[in-house]
C-alpha cells in the first residue's frame, strides 16, 4: 500500500459526502427542475438507488480483496492485460470527472462573483491549495473534512432558517400532478452524482475499522440524498415555479436573506464557506486520481505525481467543456449515462467475475 495514513469511518463518510454533495447542491436543483418541475425534490430519492447499489457493490468487492483499490483488483480479477485496460478506462474517466468538478467550481465562482477573472486562475488557485492537501496524504484530507464540513453544513441550514418567513410550503402542491415520470426523468442528474460513490473504492482500504465501512457508506449516501432533497425543497418553497429559471438557486436564496433589514447581503460569506466544502471535494477527487495513477503504474509513492496530475486536471477542465451552457446541458443529458456506464457497469462486471472466479472471503457479511 502506497498510502501510509489511515482514516476513520466517519472521515470516510464525510469525504464521500463532500465529494458528492458539494457541487450537487449548486447544480442539482436547476437540472432536475428542468424535467421534474415541482416534483424535483423526489428526484434525488430515485437517484439514491444508484448510490446504494454502488456502495453495496464496492463494499462487497473490497471484502473480496481487502486492502486493495479498484485499480489493483481490476488486474487480479480480469488478468493483466484486460485488467490494465479496464483500469485505465476507469482512471481516465476519473481524471475527466475530476476536471469536470474543477470546472463546476470555477464556473460557479465566475458567474457569481469573479466575472472578469480568467477561469484558469480560479481553478488554478484551488488546485494549488488542493495539491498541498493531497501531498499531505489522506489523513490531511480526512481531518480537513471533519473540521470544515460542519461549518459548511451549519451555514447552509442557517440560510433556510433565516428564510423561514419567505418560505411557502404550498409551492410543492400538487405533488406528482403529471404522474411519477417527470421526477424520474429529473433523477438523471442525481443518479450521475450519486454514482460517484464508486470512488469510495479508493478510500476503503484506508479505513481503520473495516467491519463498519458498509454502515458508514450507507450513512453517507443517506446524508447526500437528504441534503439534495432538503435543498430542492427549500428552493422550491422559496422560489416556486420560477425555480426552473434560476441557475444557482442556493446562491439566489443566500442573496434573498434579509433579517430585520440589517442582516442582509450575506452571500459572500456563504460562498466563502462553500469553498471550504469545495476544497474537500476537489482534494478528494485529486487524491483519488493521483493514487489511482500510481497504483496503475505500480509506483512506490504517489507524491511525485501530485503537481503533474494537477496540471493535467486544469488542462482537462479547460479542454473538455466548451462553455457553461454546454456543461449544464450535458449534465442533464449525456453525462449521467457516461457516469453510470463507467461507475456502475465496471464495478458490477468486476463483481460478477469475482463471484464466479474467487472463493467467498471469510469475513463476508458482517
Amino acid at each position: 500500500m502506497i498510502e501510509k495514513g489511515r482514516i476513520s469511518g466517519l472521515e470516510l463518510a464525510l469525504i464521500m459526502y463532500a465529494t458528492v454533495s458539494a457541487t450537487a447542491i449548486l447544480y442539482i436543483p436547476y437540472i432536475t427542475a428542468q424535467h421534474a418541475k415541482r416534483d424535483l425534490w423526489l428526484s434525488p430519492i430515485w437517484g439514491s438507488l444508484s448510490g446504494f447499489l454502488i456502495v453495496v457493490i464496492i463494499v462487497i468487492l473490497s471484502r473480496y480483496f481487502p486492502g486493495k483499490t479498484l485499480i489493483e483488483y481490476c488486474e487480479l480479477i480480469l488478468g493483466r492485460t484486460i485488467g490494465k485496460i479496464i483500469a485505465f478506462l476507469y482512471l481516465f474517466f476519473l481524471l475527466h470527472d475530476t476536471s469536470i468538478a474543477f470546472r463546476e467550481y470555477g464556473e460557479f465562482v465566475e458567474s457569481a462573483f469573479l466575472h472578469r477573472t480568467p477561469m484558469l486562475f480560479v481553478t488554478g488557485s484551488i488546485a494549488i491549495s488542493c495539491a498541498i492537501a493531497v501531498h499531505g496524504g489522506i489523513q490531511t484530507i480526512g481531518r480537513c473534512a471533519v473540521l470544515f464540513l460542519p461549518i459548511v453544513f451549519v451555514s447552509y441550514v442557517l440560510i433556510y432558517i433565516f428564510l423561514i418567513p419567505d418560505l411557502n410550503l404550498k409551492n410543492m402542491l400538487p405533488i406528482m400532478a403529471d404522474g411519477v415520470l417527470p421526477s424520474i426523468k429529473g433523477s438523471l442528474a442525481p443518479h450521475a452524482w450519486l454514482s460517484q460513490y464508486s470512488l469510495m473504492s479508493f478510500l476503503l482500504p484506508l479505513v481503520t475499522k473495516q467491519q463498519k465501512v458498509m454502515k458508514w457508506g450507507i450513512v453517507s449516501v443517506v446524508a447526500s440524498v437528504l441534503t439534495m432533497v432538503l435543498m430542492n425543497l427549500g428552493n422550491l418553497f422559496l422560489f416556486g415555479d420560477i425555480l426552473i429559471n434560476l441557475q444557482f438557486p442556493v446562491f439566489e436564496a443566500a442573496r434573498f436573506v434579509s433579517v430585520g433589514s440589517f442582516f442582509e447581503h450575506i452571500e459572500s460569506i456563504i460562498i466563502a464557506v462553500w469553498v471550504l466544502g469545495g476544497f474537500i471535494q476537489l482534494s478528494a477527487f485529486f487524491y483519488m486520481v493521483v493514487l489511482g495513477t500510481s497504483q496503475w503504474l505500480k509506483l512506490p509513492s504517489y507524491k511525485p505525481f501530485v503537481l503533474p496530475i494537477g496540471f493535467l486536471i486544469i488542462l482537462f477542465s479547460v479542454w473538455t467543456i466548451p462553455s457553461f451552457e454546454d456543461m449544464i446541458r450535458g449534465m442533464g443529458t449525456t453525462v449521467p449515462y457516461y457516469f453510470l456506464t463507467i461507475q456502475l457497469i465496471i464495478p458490477s462486471l468486476l463483481l460478477c467475475v469475482a463471484v464466479i472466479r474467487w472463493k467467498k472471503p471469510k469475513s463476508f457479511m458482517q
Binding site: 462573483f113 469573479l114 472578469r116 477573472t117 494549488i128 498541498i132 400538487p174 400532478a177 422560489f239 442573496r255
Partner: protein, 397 residues
C-alpha cells in the same frame, strides 16, 4: 541525503506559496468602494423610439458632518444623492450609456427599489424584468412599484423625513399600506398560467396635505397587469379589498356606523388571517374567502355602551359586513371589468384540483369571471380601549 531532501521540501513549499500568492491577489475583479457608484433606486421609463429610459438614484458618499446638525436640519436630504438618466434599446444598453457619464462603476447591490413609469407599464414589462434576474448584482428582493407619470420625477423627490425617495418608498411599502411585490414575486406571478400581476401604484401626496409645494411620493392603490401589460388600476379603497385575501392586511382602521344612529365606531386591526378555499362541484367553480380578524376599539362616538355583549355582537356583525363589502367591491372589479386573477385563484385551483385544472387551463380567462365567490368572515373585538362611555353620558344623568 537528509539535507538534500529537506532543501527540496523547503523549495517545493516556497514554490507552492509563491504560486498561490500569485493567483490569490484577484486583480481582475478588484473593486474598491471609492470606485463604485452605489445605486439606491432605479426607474424605468418609456423613451423615444421604443427606447428605454433608465434613471438611477446615485448615492453621494460624504463623510458625516460632526458639527451639531447645522446642515442636517435644513432640507436634510439635499446633496446626499442625485438622479441621472440615459436612454437605450435595453436596460443594459441604457446602463452602458449611463456609465459613460459617471466616473465610478455602477453598482446595483444596494438598489432596493425599482420604479416603472406608467407609460412603460402600459407597453409591457415582462421583457425588462429579465435584466433584474439575469444580472448578478441587483437583488431579487428589491421592491417593484409603478409610478404615475415618469419614474424619473419620482426619484427626484426630496421627502421630509427620509433621506431620499428610495428609503421613502421602501418604508411605505414595508408598512403594508398597499401590496408589497418584490422582483421575485413579480416573476412568480408573471410566470404563472394566469399571467397577471399586481404592483403598488405610486402617486404624489396631494399638495393640500403639505405646507410646502414639494412632490412627495406615496403609495395610492395598485396597478393591475395582464400578460405583462398594465391594464387597469385599483383605487386605494379597492386595494384594501385585495389586501385581505392576499394576507397582506397588517394595519388599518375600520370605521362603522349604524343606520338610525348618530356617530360611529372606529376599530383598529390587530391581526388578521386569510385563506382561500376553492371548490369545484358539478362543474361549478367557486371560491370561499375565509377571513379571521382581531380588532380593538379606537374611538366610539355613538351612544352605545361597549360593555354590553349585545352591542359588541352588533358591532362585529357590522365590521364583517364592512370587510366583505370591500372585498365584494374589488371582486366585481377584478372579475367583471379587468378579468385579472390577481388573488391567485388559479394557483389555488391548480393545487387542489390538479387534474381538472390541467383540462381547463386554457379556458381560465373564461372561467375566472364566472367563479362564484363567497365570503366567510369572522371578527372578534378583543379590547374596547382604556376608557368607557360614561364621560359622554354624564350630561344625560
Amino acid at each position: 541525503m537528509c539535507k538534500i531532501q529537506a532543501i527540496k521540501r523547503t523549495f517545493t513549499l516556497f514554490l507552492l506559496i509563491f504560486l498561490s500568492s500569485m493567483v490569490l491577489t484577484g486583480c481582475w475583479d478588484r473593486t474598491e468602494i471609492n470606485d463604485l457608484a452605489l445605486i439606491l433606486a432605479a426607474g424605468m421609463d418609456k423613451g423615444k423610439n421604443n427606447n428605454i429610459e433608465l434613471s438611477v438614484l446615485v448615492f453621494i458618499p460624504r463623510p458625516q458632518q460632526s458639527g451639531q446638525g447645522n446642515e442636517m436640519s435644513s432640507g436634510g436630504s439635499s446633496g446626499q444623492s442625485f438622479v441621472r438618466s440615459a436612454e437605450g434599446k435595453t436596460i443594459a444598453d441604457a446602463m452602458a450609456r449611463l456609465q459613460e457619464a459617471l466616473t465610478r462603476k455602477i453598482f446595483w447591490g444596494q438598489s432596493e427599489v425599482i420604479l416603472i413609469g406608467d407609460k412603460l407599464a402600459k407597453k409591457g414589462i415582462s421583457e425588462q424584468i429579465d435584466f433584474w434576474m439575469r444580472h448578478s448584482e441587483p437583488r431579487i428582493r428589491a421592491d417593484v412599484l409603478v409610478a404615475k407619470g415618469k419614474a424619473k420625477t419620482v426619484l427626484k423627490a426630496i421627502p421630509e423625513l427620509e433621506k431620499d425617495a428610495s428609503i421613502q418608498l421602501r418604508k411605505i411599502v414595508k408598512s403594508h399600506i398597499g401590496v408589497r411585490v418584490t422582483v421575485k414575486d413579480l416573476l412568480q406571478m408573471l410566470s404563472h398560467t394566469s399571467n397577471v400581476a399586481v404592483l403598488p401604484w405610486v402617486e404624489n401626496l396631494p399638495p393640500t396635505q403639505m405646507d410646502k409645494k414639494k412632490a412627495i411620493p406615496i403609495i395610492k392603490g395598485a396597478a393591475v397587469f395582464k400578460d405583462g401589460k398594465m391594464v387597469g388600476r385599483l383605487s386605494d379603497k379597492e386595494t384594501r379589498g385585495i389586501l385581505w385575501p392576499r394576507n397582506e392586511m397588517k394595519t388599518g382602521v375600520i370605521t362603522i356606523s349604524f343606520t338610525g344612529e348618530e356617530g360611529s365606531i372606529s376599530l383598529n386591526l390587530l391581526r388578521s388571517h386569510n385563506k382561500l378555499i376553492p371548490s369545484i362541484k358539478n362543474g361549478k367553480w367557486s371560491m370561499r374567502i375565509k377571513t379571521n380578524a382581531d380588532l380593538e376599539v379606537f374611538q366610539n362616538t355613538t351612544e352605545f355602551n361597549l360593555f354590553d355583549p349585545n352591542v359588541i355582537k352588533k358591532a362585529e356583525k357590522k365590521v364583517v359586513y364592512e370587510i366583505e363589502e370591500r372585498e365584494r367591491l374589488v371582486m366585481t372589479e377584478l372579475q367583471k371589468k379587468l378579468n385579472a386573477d390577481i388573488l391567485g385563484f388559479a394557483d389555488e385551483f391548480e393545487k387542489k384540483y390538479p387534474q381538472i385544472w390541467k383540462k381547463n387551463r386554457d379556458q381560465w380567462n373564461e372561467i375566472f369571471p364566472e367563479i362564484a365567490v363567497s365570503f366567510d368572515t369572522k371578527v372578534k373585538i378583543q379590547r374596547t380601549g382604556l376608557a368607557d362611555e360614561k364621560h359622554k353620558r354624564g350630561a344625560e344623568r
